[in-house]
Symmetry: C2
Subunit: 164 residues, 2 copies
DNA sequence: GCCAATTACTTGAAACCTAAAGAAATCTGG
DNA sequence: CCAGATTTCTTTAGGTTTCAAGTAATTGGC
C-alpha cells in the first residue's frame, strides 16, 4: 500500500504494466514469425514478403481489385501500393488496367503466370505456418482466435475514439 | 469424405487453414496496434516508432548496450541499428563511445536529455496501450499472455529446426 | 452547366529495413 | 608468436514504408 506524506492511504496509481507486457509479447511473436516467413520466402522462392502479401490479396479476388482496395486490405499507404504494384507489373506477375467506368481507378489482377507462381508459393507457405504454430492444440488455436478478435475490436474502438 | 477414383476412402489432406487464419489475425492485430502507436507518437511527440523502441531498450539499461545487443533485442539487422543510432546520436538523444576493452564494440546510452524525453513519452505510451487493450478483462490478458508464450516457443522451435 | 469538395492515384523526400560483402579487432589452436 | 576463424560494426544495393503534397477524374449542390 502506498501512503502519502501524511500517512493516509492514497489511490494506487493505475497499473498498466500488464497490458504493456502483453503488447510487447504480441509484437515479439509477430516479428518472430514474420521474420521466419520472410526468410523462407526469400530462400525458397526469392520473393519478398510484401510481394507475396499483395499477390495473396489478389488471388482471393480473380476479377481484380483497385489500388485503394489493396491499400485498405493490406493496411499500408497508397503510395506504397503504387510502387509495389509497379514492380510486380514490371515482373509480369500483375496485370493493370484503367477502369472504364472511372478513369481514376486502376484495376489490378494476377496474370496467369503470376497466379501459377503464387499458388505454388501459397501451398508451401501454408505448411510453414502450420509448422510454426505446430505446438498449439486445436483448443489453443480457437482460444487465440477468440481473444485476438476481441483485441482487434478493442484496438479499433480505441483508434476510432482518438480520431473523433 | 473424399473418395478416390476407385471409390475407396482416402486420407483427408491435412487441413491447415485454421493456423493460417490465426496467423493472419495475429498479423492484423499487431499491424493495427502498431499503426495506432506510430500515429500517436508522431502526432504527440513527432518521433518515429523505431526511435522510440530503441530508446526504450536503452532506458532499461542505464550503463548502456552494444549495437549487437540492441540488434538482438529489437530483432532487426545490424546495419539497421547503425543507421538508427547514427540519427539518434545526431539529434542528441544518444551517447556513443568505443569500448576500451574491445575497440570493435560501440557502447551506446541515452543522454540526460534523451532519457528525460523518453520518460515523458513512455508515460503516455503506457496509457495508450492500456486504452487499446481496454476491453480485455484481466483474465483475457493472462490467457493471451499464456497462449502467446506458447506460440513464441513453438515458432522458435520451428525456426531453429529449419536452420539446423 | 458550373464549381467546390471528394476520391484515386502518383510523386518526392526521408527514414527504415534486409541481405550480403567488407573492414577492423579479437580470439584460438597450434 | 601467428595464421585462420570469429566477432563487431559499417557499407552498399535494392526494396519497403510513411507522410505530405500534387494531379486528375468524378460527384454533388446550386
Amino acid at each position: 500500500m502506498i501512503l502519502d506524506s501524511e500517512t493516509k492511504a492514497v489511490e494506487l496509481p493505475e497499473h498498466h504494466g500488464d497490458e504493456l507486457r502483453l503488447w510487447l509479447r504480441l509484437l515479439t511473436c509477430t516479428t518472430l514469425i514474420e521474420g521466419e516467413v520472410r526468410s523462407r520466402l526469400r530462400e525458397r522462392f526469392d520473393v519478398t514478403l510484401p510481394r507475396f502479401d499483395l499477390m495473396a490479396q489478389l488471388d482471393k479476388v480473380p476479377e481484380g481489385m483497385t489500388l485503394s482496395d489493396v491499400s485498405k486490405r493490406m493496411m499500408v499507404s497508397n503510395g506504397n501500393v503504387t510502387g509495389l504494384v509497379e514492380r510486380l507489373v514490371e515482373s509480369g506477375h500483375l496485370d493493370r488496367r484503367t477502369s472504364d467506368a472511372d478513369r481514376r481507378v486502376q484495376v489490378i489482377r494476377l496474370t496467369k503466370a503470376g497466379r501459377a507462381e503464387f499458388r505454388k508459393m501459397a501451398t508451401e507457405h501454408e505448411l510453414w505456418i502450420a509448422d510454426i504454430f505446430g505446438d498449439l492444440t486445436p483448443k489453443d488455436v480457437r482460444e487465440l482466435m477468440r481473444l485476438l478478435a476481441k483485441t482487434k475490436a478493442s484496438a479499433q474502438k480505441s483508434a476510432k475514439a482518438r480520431t473523433t
